[in-house]
C-alpha cells in the first residue's frame, strides 16, 4: 500500500458524525480502537440490551464523532442488531459510514456494502485484513473495486494500524462531498417491477425520509418494519396492491430473487477486481478437518476447555493468595490504627487532639454560656473520650475492617482468575477456534432446547456466572439469549466450591470427592432439564431454537495487543459492577450481624432472621445457622463458609468437626450443597441478569424459580436419604460412639 498525500482545504473547525459498520469478525472493534485511541464511552442503545460504543477523534482540525454499530451481515429486519444499524443510518443520517470489509472474504462482505449503497449512505470502505488476504494469495485491484462501487476504498491492517491515517483522510474527503447516487440494477425485468412500486411510494410525503427505491425493494422483500410504515401510510391500500402484483410477477420468493441478483452484481464486480492463487490445500481446511471431526470435535473441545480452566485457577492462584494476604494485612493495619488512634495522636498529632478538645469545649460553651469553664472542658473531654472509645475504637473499626475491607477484598481476590479466564477466552476467540467450538456442540444443545451459541456462556458459568451471563450477548435471538441467562446460574461457579469442600469433607467422609463432583453434574443436568421445561411450558420460549447459521472466521494468530484489550474490556466491567454491588451488600450484612451492638451473635438481627425462617426449612433438616449462612450466601457464595466460622466461633481447622457434630448429617449436608448450587444466584449475578435482560420480570423469575427448585431438590435428597435409612444408620452410629465414649 502506498501512502497518499492529498491537500484538503479546512477553512473552519467542524464536527462530523461517522458510523462504523461491518460483518462480525472483520476487526471492527480493533479499528474503532485504532481510530479513537482506545477511548470509548460504552452504553446501551435506547430500549435495547445491545451495547452502544461511541468515541471521538480529531484529524486535521476536524472533530469526528464515531459510533460503532452492531456487527451484522445485512440490513434486513430479522434481528435487533440489523434494525439498530439500519435505523441509525436512516434517522441519524451520519455524514460518513465506514464499511469495514474483510479483504479475505470479499463476496460475503460486499453484500452489506450493496445494501448500504441502496440505503443512500455515504460509504467509505476500509478493506481490512489486507495482509491476510495477500497471505492467502488474493490479488485485489483496489482502484477497480473503488471505480465499480463508486466509493473510496482504503486497504487497512487494523492489527498494525496500517492504512488508518489514509482512512481518516478518506473519511474527511467523503464528508466534504455528497455521496454519488449508486443505483443497484437488478436487470430490466426486476427494475421495471421496482419502478412501479416506487412510483406509488413517492406519492406519500411521509415516506420521503427514506430513499424511495430502497423502500420499494424492501416492500417487495416483505420487510416487516417497512410494511409497518406502509400500513400507516394514507396510500397503504394502493401500495400494497402494487406490491402484491409485482410479487406475483416475480414468481419466486422476491427476497431470494433479489439476494441472488445482488450476488451476481458482486460477482461481476469481483471478476474485474480480484484474482487469487488456488492452493492445493489450505491450513484452514486441514485444521477444520480435525477440529470439526464428527468423533473428535467434542473431545478436543473438552480438552481445550479443561486446559483453559486449569490455566485460570491454578496459574492465577498465587496472585489471588497475594491479594488475600494484602487485604488481610491492610485490615490489620487499619484495625491497629483505629485501636491506637489515641496513641498515634499523642505521638504525632498532640496538637490535633488538643484542638479537638478545644473545639468541643467552645461548642459546649457556646450552647451553655453560663456554665463555668471547667465544666465545659470536662464535658468536651467526656465527649471526645466517648467518641474514641465507643466509635473510633470499636464500631467504626469493625465497619472498616470487617465490613468494607473484607467486602472489597472478597471482590479483589476474584480479579486474577477472572482476568486470566478472559485472557484465555480472548485467545480462543481471536484465533478463530471459538466459532468452531460453538458449531461442534450445537447438535447436543439443540436437543436440550438451547442454541449452539449458548455453550460458551454456560461453560463460562463454571468459572463465574457473571461473565457467563454477559457472554450471552453473542446469541442473536432474544428468546434463546434470555433462556440461556435463566439457566446459567445453575452452572456451579467457583465460589460455591469452598462450600462443597467444607460440607462434603465434614459429613461425607470417603465419598467427599464424589459428593463435590456430583454437584457439577447435577448443575449441568438441571440446566438442560430446565431449558427443556421452559421451552415447552413458557409461551415466550415455545418456538424451537433458531437455526445456527454462522460464518467460520479464518484462523489467525492472536496478537498480544488484541488479546489484552479484549481481556481488559471484559474484566473491567466485572470489577466495576461486582465491586459496587458486593461492597454495599457486605456493609449491610455487617450491620445486621453486629447489631444490636455489643450483644452476642445469637441476639443479632441475623439470628432473628434465622429463627424466623427455621420452620420453613425444618423439612430439609436445616437449622438456623444453615439458614443464616444461606442468607449471607446471597451476597456472595463464599460468605457461606465465613458465616459458619463466625456463628460457630472457631478457626477453619475445627469447622468441619463442629459442622458434623452440630449442624449436618450426610443427607442434610448433601441437601445443603444442592441447595447452595441451585438457589438464588449471588447479588452481583442478579445485578448482571437485570442489566442484560433489562427486565425486572425475568430477574425476579430467576430468583423465584431458583428458590423453588432448590427446595424441591433438597427435599428430594432428604426424602430419599430417609427412605434408604441412611439417616437412621448415621444417627445410630453417632449414638453408639457417644455411648462408647462415656
Amino acid at each position: 500500500m502506498k501512502g497518499v498525500t492529498v491537500k484538503v482545504l479546512v477553512s473552519e473547525k467542524e464536527t462530523i458524525k461517522v458510523a462504523l459498520i461491518g460483518n462480525p469478525n472483520v476487526g471492527k472493534t480493533l479499528l474503532f480502537n485504532d481510530l479513537t485511541g482506545g477511548r470509548a464511552h460504552v452504553g446501551n442503545w435506547p430500549g435495547k440490551t445491545v451495547e452502544k460504543k461511541e468515541g471521538k477523534y480529531t484529524f486535521r482540525g476536524v472533530k469526528v464523532e464515531l459510533v460503532d454499530l452492531p456487527g451484522t451481515y445485512s440490513l434486513t429486519a430479522h434481528s435487533v442488531d440489523e434494525l439498530i444499524a439500519r435505523e441509525f443510518i436512516v434517522n441519524e443520517k451520519p455524514d460518513v459510514v465506514i464499511d469495514i470489509v474483510d479483504a479475505s472474504n470479499l463476496e460475503r462482505n460486499l453484500y452489506l456494502t450493496m445494501q448500504l449503497l441502496e440505503l443512500g449512505a455515504n460509504v467509505v470502505i476500509a478493506l481490512n485484513k489486507f495482509d491476510l488476504a495477500e497471505g492467502l494469495g488474493y490479488q485485489i485491484d483496489v482502484k477497480a473495486l473503488a471505480s465499480s462501487l463508486g466509493v473510496r476504498v482504503v486497504p487497512t491492517v487494523a492489527t498494525t494500524k496500517k492504512g488508518v491515517e489514509e482512512l481518516k483522510q478518506a473519511v474527511i474527503e467523503a464528508a466534504r462531498k455528497k455521496p454519488s447516487k449508486y443505483e443497484v440494477s437488478y436487470g430490466r425485468a426486476l427494475d421495471s417491477v421496482i419502478s412501479k412500486v416506487e412510483e406509488v411510494i413517492v406519492k406519500d410525503p411521509t415516506l420521503s425520509r427514506f430513499p424511495s427505491r430502497w423502500l420499494a425493494v424492501k416492500a417487495l422483500e416483505k420487510d416487516e418494519e417497512v410494511l409497518k410504515l406502509i400500513r400507516a401510510s394514507p396510500h397503504a391500500n394502493e401500495i400494497e396492491k402494487v406490491v402484491a402484483e409485482a410479487s406475483e410477477k416475480l414468481g419466486d420468493d422476491p427476497e431470494v430473487v433479489l439476494a441472488e441478483k445482488r450476488y451476481e452484481i458482486i460477482g461481476s464486480i469481483l471478476s474485474k477486481a480480484l484474482e487469487r492463487e488456488e492452493k492445493p490445500v489450505t491450513f484452514s481446511d486441514l485444521i477444520d478437518r480435525v477440529l470439526l471431526n464428527k468423533y473428535l470435535g467434542i473431545p478436543i473441545f473438552a480438552v481445550i476447555l479443561w486446559a483453559m480452566f486449569t490455566f485460570t485457577f491454578e496459574v492465577s492462584a498465587p496472585l489471588s493468595d497475594l491479594i488475600d494476604l494484602a487485604i488481610s494485612w491492610l485490615g490489620e493495619v487499619v484495625n491497629e490504627a483505629l485501636t491506637h488512634a489515641d496513641t498515634i495522636s499523642n505521638m504525632f498529632f498532640i496538637a490535633t487532639g488538643a484542638e479537638i478538645n478545644d473545639f468541643l469545649a467552645n461548642l459546649v460553651a457556646g450552647w451553655l454560656p453560663s456554665l463555668p469553664e471547667w465544666s465545659s472542658n470536662f464535658a468536651s473531654s467526656l465527649i471526645a473520650d466517648w467518641m474514641y472509645t465507643n466509635l473510633f475504637q470499636s464500631e467504626l473499626s469493625s465497619l472498616i475492617t470487617d465490613g468494607v475491607i473484607s467486602g472489597v477484598g472478597a471482590v479483589l481476590v476474584f480479579i486474577p482468575p477472572i482476568f486470566f479466564l478472559f485472557f484465555a477466552l480472548s485467545i480462543l476467540e481471536d484465533s478463530g477456534y471459538l466459532a468452531r467450538a460453538a458449531f461442534v456442540v450445537d447438535r447436543i444443545l439443540y436437543k436440550a432446547g438451547l442454541h449452539g451459541k449458548s455453550f460458551i456462556p454456560l461453560l463460562l458459568g463454571f468459572g463465574c456466572n457473571i461473565p457467563g451471563v454477559m457472554a450471552t450477548r453473542s446469541i442473536d435471538s432474544e428468546e434463546d439469549r434470555i433462556l440461556t441467562i435463566l439457566v446459567n446460574p445453575l452452572m456451579s461457579c467457583n465460589a460455591r466450591l469452598p462450600v462443597y469442600v467444607l460440607v462434603a469433607g465434614a459429613v461425607l467422609g470417603a465419598y467427599a470427592t464424589f459428593g463435590v463432583f456430583s454437584m457439577y453434574v447435577l448443575g449441568m443436568v438441571l440446566a438442560a432439564s430446565m431449558a427443556l421445561l421452559f421451552r415447552r411450558t413458557i409461551p415466550y420460549f415455545k418456538k424451537k431454537p433458531s437455526h445456527f447459521i454462522m460464518e467460520l472466521p479464518t484462523y489467525a494468530l492472536p496478537t498480544a495487543r488484541n488479546t489484552l484489550t479484549h481481556m481488559w474490556e471484559r474484566g473491567y466491567v466485572f470489577v466495576r459492577k461486582a465491586g459496587t454491588i458486593i461492597v454495599a451488600g457486605v456493609v449491610a450484612v455487617w450491620y445486621l450481624s453486629t447489631h444490636p451492638w455489643g450483644l452476642p451473635i445469637y441476639w443479632s438481627h441475623v439470628a432473628t432472621i434465622g429463627y424466623t425462617l427455621e420452620p420453613i426449612f425444618r423439612p430439609l433438616g436445616f437449622n438456623w445457622m444453615s439458614i443464616v449462612a444461606l442468607v449471607f450466601g446471597f451476597v456472595a457464595k463464599e460468605m457461606v463458609v465465613g458465616t459458619f466460622g463466625v456463628l460457630l466461633g472457631c478457626e477453619e481447622e475445627m469447622l468441619g468437626t463442629l459442622l458434623a457434630s452440630y449442624v449436618f448429617t450426610p443427607v442434610t449436608g448433601l441437601a445443603f450443597m444442592a441447595f447452595t448450587l441451585i438457589y438464588i444466584p449471588c447479588l452481583a449475578t442478579i445485578g448482571i441478569i437485570y442489566r442484560e435482560t433489562a427486565s425486572w420480570k425475568w430477574t425476579a423469575f430467576t430468583v423465584v424459580y431458583g428458590i423453588i427448585l432448590a427446595y424441591l431438590v433438597a427435599l428430594l435428597i432428604v426424602s430419599v436419604g430417609h427412605l434408604l435409612g441412611v439417616e437412621s444408620v448415621y444417627i445410630l452410629n453417632s449414638l453408639l460412639r457417644q455411648i462408647a465414649a462415656t
Binding site: E107, G137, E260, Y263, E264, I266, G267, L270, S271, L274, E275, R276, E277, E278, K279, P280, V281, F283, D285, L286, I287, D288, R289, V290, L291, N293, L296, P299, I300, A302, V303, I304, W306, A307, T310, F311, E314, V315, S316, A317, P318, D321, L322, L325, S328, W329, E332, V333, E336, A337, H340, T343, I344, M347, A510, Y511, T513, F514
Partner: protein, 219 residues
C-alpha cells in the same frame, strides 16, 4: 477435500512423519489410560473394594513409573493420542490427513506450556508463607513497640525469625516437573517442525485463478 497429489515433497520425510505421529499417538494413549486407571484405583481403594487395581499399578513394574492420578488429565492425554493416530493415512501420501499431527502438536504444546506455567506458579506459591511472616513485622503494633522501646529485642526477633520460625522452603512443587504433559511435549517438538515443513512444501505449487461466480441461470 479429496486426495492431494504433490510430486515435489520428499516421500521419506512424509513416511517418517506418519510413523512419528502414530508412535506419539500410542504413547499418549498409554499415558492417558494409566493416569485414568490410577485415579480409578485410588477411588476404588477409598471404597475399600477392588484393591487388586492397586496391585496392578503399584505392585507391577508399571507401578514404578511416576504418573499422576488424574482422571481428566488422563482423558486429555487419550484424546491427544487419538488425534495423533489420525495421521496414519499420511503413510499412503494422503496429505489431507496432515491436519491430525498438526493439531495433535498444538494440543501437546497447549498442555506442555500449561504445566510449565503451573510449575512456575506453584514455585511462586511457596514464597507466600515468607511474605505472610514478613507482613507481621509491617504492622503498626511492631512499629510502635520499636519506637517506644524494646526495639533491639523486636529487631532480633524479626531478623532471626526466618531461622527460628518453621517456615522451611517447600520443594514439593518440583514434582510438577515430572508431569508427562511436559516431557511428551518436548518429545513432540520435532514432529511439529516436520509437519509444518511438509505443509509448506505442499503449498509451494499454487495456480492463479480469476474470481468468478456463475449465476443461477448459468448453472
Amino acid at each position: 477435500m479429496g486426495e492431494v497429489k504433490v510430486k515435489h515433497v520428499r516421500e521419506a520425510y512424509v513416511k517418517s512423519l506418519a510413523v512419528y505421529s502414530v508412535s506419539l499417538g500410542l504413547l499418549y494413549l498409554l499415558v492417558g489410560i494409566l493416569e485414568f486407571g490410577k485415579w480409578a484405583a485410588t477411588v476404588a481403594s477409598g471404597i475399600g473394594e477392588l484393591s487388586w487395581y492397586i496391585w496392578a499399578l503399584n505392585g507391577s513394574p508399571l507401578g514404578a513409573i511416576w504418573l499422576p492420578s488424574d482422571a481428566i488429565g488422563g482423558f486429555a492425554m487419550a484424546v491427544i493420542g487419538s488425534v495423533y493416530l489420525g495421521g496414519f493415512p499420511i503413510w499412503r501420501l494422503k496429505y489431507d490427513s496432515l491436519g491430525f499431527p498438526i493439531v495433535g502438536f498444538m494440543l501437546s504444546a497447549l498442555y506442555g506450556v500449561l504445566y510449565l506455567l503451573i510449575l512456575i506458579s506453584r514455585s511462586l506459591g511457596n514464597i507466600i508463607p515468607y511474605i505472610e511472616f514478613t507482613s507481621e513485622y509491617l504492622s503498626l503494633n511492631f512499629l510502635i513497640r520499636l519506637l517506644t522501646g524494646n526495639q533491639f529485642e523486636e529487631l532480633y526477633a524479626a531478623v532471626s525469625g526466618l531461622l527460628i520460625e518453621n517456615i522451611a522452603w517447600q520443594w514439593t512443587w518440583t514434582a510438577s516437573m515430572l508431569r508427562p504433559e511436559i516431557w511428551l511435549f518436548i518429545v513432540a517438538l520435532p514432529l511439529g517442525a516436520l509437519a509444518w515443513r511438509t505443509f509448506k512444501s505442499i503449498q509451494a505449487a499454487p495456480q492463479i485463478v480469476k474470481y468468478g461466480r456463475p449465476s443461477r441461470s448459468q448453472q
